[in-house]
Subunit: 470 residues, 2 copies
């Protein structure tokens, strides 16, 4: 009996010890000395990082951004289905709810001024360029300093110009506008004669961006009118008794050339393309009125943000007055977004951004030039290398647009010639030039550029040994 009892104790004891060992091992292994610490640490970290009011919006934004759309589309937070699902907006040539349907015969579309080739850079820099705006963010008409311009944004832009070395801002005034578009109009008002019996003649040199004419004519002011192109005044002498305001676009839209004014009078410099990705920067621009935009720098055209750098105080006050009367300033949401994007743009002296952009544009021009070198039917604008202070080297311009000329006598509607080759471009007459020219946008997405190259290659390959007027 005792022996049995002893055995019983013995067995139970060992069982109990075994259980203890198992429990301890289990605790150690399953939880783990280190893992337990880790897990405790992770739980406490997650709790301290635990977002509250912004979490839902952040999660939604990330879910929408994660929608793959088969790699051929994009979803955005402002367009969801009724049950909150992302909606894929398909890129050119793709369709279907997941953008997975490819249309083989689709045309390469190259009409827009969008800089979607920069999108990958912003995706790579997602964490630094995300913006979270609370429901109560800046409800007032004015900032705390009673102005409608965000001071930190102004400072950031001054720093940007200093880094890019493309404009003098020291001692200059700055005004923000709803895109460069609003500021072009504001500048015309500011410079105009104020004399209704002798309104200012507004001029631009062909080829020029259509908004100069369309906008100036539309506003039909007593004090200025759109005269036309600079050649239409027969000689410089004929401007003696006339008040002239000249739009100087440098680099020019569409050809990318650096321009100087034709007349020696009042000039508004549209310098939206004067950045290292499009042109060498030989010197900081130092004009009375210089206008820039986010659209042609970072590609954020949808935000509608531009700025003017102004020498003269009186002109500055008139331009500021315009923005105040036209629309009571510009969106503070947009100014916040511009600040975030430009802070990343100027990181590391702008090198990551400008090198990304310039490398892309150079690659594209190299490939385009190579393809066009096989053509006698089509030509590109001439490009001559010169020194760039930003990259500190001599380099070729890499304009946003190819200004394609149809060289054959019979090809006097170049846009149509390209359209027949499934390339959609803009007529030269849109830029007040002849239709022998057509503007082809090179700032499209990579896929779109690949398609453009395929189409041009095909079109040009037909020239060899073919008498067809295609």
């Amino acid at each position: 009996m005792n022996k049995m009892k002893n055995n019983c104790y013995g067995i139970c004891f060992f069982i109990s010890i075994a259980i203890n060992i198992l429990l301890c091992t289990g605790i150690y292994m399953y939880i783990g000395g280190a893992r337990w610490e880790d897990m405790k640490q992770e739980i406490s970290w997650q709790s301290s990082l635990a977002l509250t009011w912004s979490e839902k919006a952040a999660a939604e934004a990330e879910a929408v951004a994660a929608a793959s759309c088969s790699g051929h589309g994009r979803a955005f937070v402002d367009r969801l289905t009724s049950d909150g699902q992302p909606v894929c907006e398909c890129f050119n040539c793709y369709s279907g709810s997941e953008c997975s349907v490819y249309s083989v015969e689709c045309a390469a579309v190259a009409t827009s001024g969008d800089l979607t080739f920069l999108e990958p850079f912003w995706i790579q820099n997602a964490a630094n360029t995300a913006v979270v705006i609370s429901g109560w963010h800046r409800m007032s008409y004015n900032y705390a300093d009673a102005t409608k311009m965000l001071k930190d944004l102004e400072n950031c832009i001054r720093k940007l110009h200093s880094i890019a070395r493309n404009a003098v801002t020291e001692g200059r005034y700055m005004v923000f506008g709803v895109g460069s578009a609003q500021l072009l109009s504001a500048a015309v008002y500011a410079l105009s004669s104020g004399n209704s019996s002798s309104p200012s003649n507004v001029l631009a040199s062909i080829p020029f961006y259509w908004l100069f004419r369309d906008q100036t004519s539309f506003f039909s002011s007593k004090y200025f009118e759109f005269e036309g192109n600079t050649n239409s005044l027969q000689s410089k002498n004929s401007t003696n008794n006339r008040d002239v305001i000249e739009f100087v676009t440098s680099p020019n839209n569409p050809d990318g050339e650096l321009k100087k004014p034709v007349f020696g009078g009042k000039a508004i410099y549209d310098q939206v393309f004067y950045w290292p990705h499009f042109t060498p920067i030989p010197e900081p621009s130092d004009q009375d009125i210089m206008i820039f935009s986010l659209s042609k720098l970072t590609g954020h055209a949808g935000s509608r943000f531009g700025w003017a750098i102004i020498k003269d105080r009186d002109v500055y006050e008139k331009i500021l007055s315009y923005t105040s009367k036209a629309a009571v300033g510009i969106s503070q949401d947009t100014q916040l977004r511009a600040l975030k994007i430009l802070q990343t743009t100027i990181d590391e002296d702008g090198k990551p951004f400008f090198e990304f952009a310039y490398t892309k544009m150079t690659e594209r021009w190299d490939r385009l030039t190579s393809v066009f070198s096989k053509s006698t039917r089509f030509s590109l604008q001439n490009r001559h290398p010169f020194h760039c202070n930003y990259f500190n080297e001599t380099r070729l311009p890499t304009p946003a647009f190819a200004w394609v000329k149809c060289e054959r006598e019979e090809d006097n509607d170049c846009r149509s010639v390209l359209e027949a080759g499934k390339i959609i471009s803009l007529s030269g007459s849109q830029l007040s030039a002849t239709d022998r020219y057509t503007r082809v946008s090179l700032t499209v997405r990579q896929d779109d550029f690949e398609l453009l190259m395929i189409r041009f290659t095909n079109l040009i390959s037909l020239e060899n040994g073919s008498l067809q007027t295609m």
Copy 2:
């Protein structure tokens, strides 16, 4: 020996059992069957909810929002110190880096059109109104449908008007603008005569919002000019040969009255205040051009967002053309923000929002009326009750401004009289009325309203038995 061995086993056994029990209890209690599950669940949930690219921006936004500024200021994400710390922007009467310094003698400022009294509502609805914008959000000039207007936002606004019952939108066109300000100008251009030898006369009835005159005069078009107030045309007959465009503000700024046109011709209805928080809604407005803004509905003046509802297709196309030429559309960032805010505004048929806003305005008018009932020196605009279709009751108007009149003969500069009583208001002449009137903003923050009441109470208390011209 055996007995000692047995005792040893016994003791060890019981110790071991005790350890078993402790371990099991510990596991159960410290981890807990349920708590372990919970914790496992929480860890796995946190991992699946783990944000990536938006986390930094969200955390920063929350940290900034959490800056207390002693309860007398606000910090915003677009203004941080160089080491990323929030900067407190202090409310009226407060100063210091933490807004903890109160200036006892400070004046109540009531000049602005800001609707900061609505800020608490947006703070309460933080989760639903936060917006996260990625660095690559909508870079293109156009939306996918090739327009510059967000379709979901347009639909949301139509629903809003249907809920508020304040405007007919069925079968009407809509155009977005940079605030109502841009659309007022666009409407004048759209309606103007197109005949430079007989420009349209633009008119408004006194008292009227200064932008009508300032903006119309500034644009100095060949086709319209600001004539002045409607009384300046001696009789209605004198308009027979003249093309007239009339601004009708209803409810009016500053007095809050519902207005009708003086002339029977072309009219632009500025209806930014035609919402249940400011006035009973007797019927949905059904005019040729009706202009509204986010500024005077939700209080988001800094966003610069307005919309026009238009009957006539030709007028619609002209207004759309204006927004396109003036600034190439409006910011897509702003449209996203407006969408989020308006989606919350229309939640539960607008009840939480409109009841919040209306309750606040009613309280303020009740208190103001009570204070002014003791005064013979100052009077408020008359208010008469009428039926409101939204709240389905007869109620008094609760205008955004008090249109204060100084009744004493010698008090012909009412603004100065109030200023001496430490109340800063707007001169009547700013609204083209006499300076016997002054406009006092009632849409300020609660603290500012409390101060306003203290100042008015003091000022009015001096009337009794005092011959001082204070």
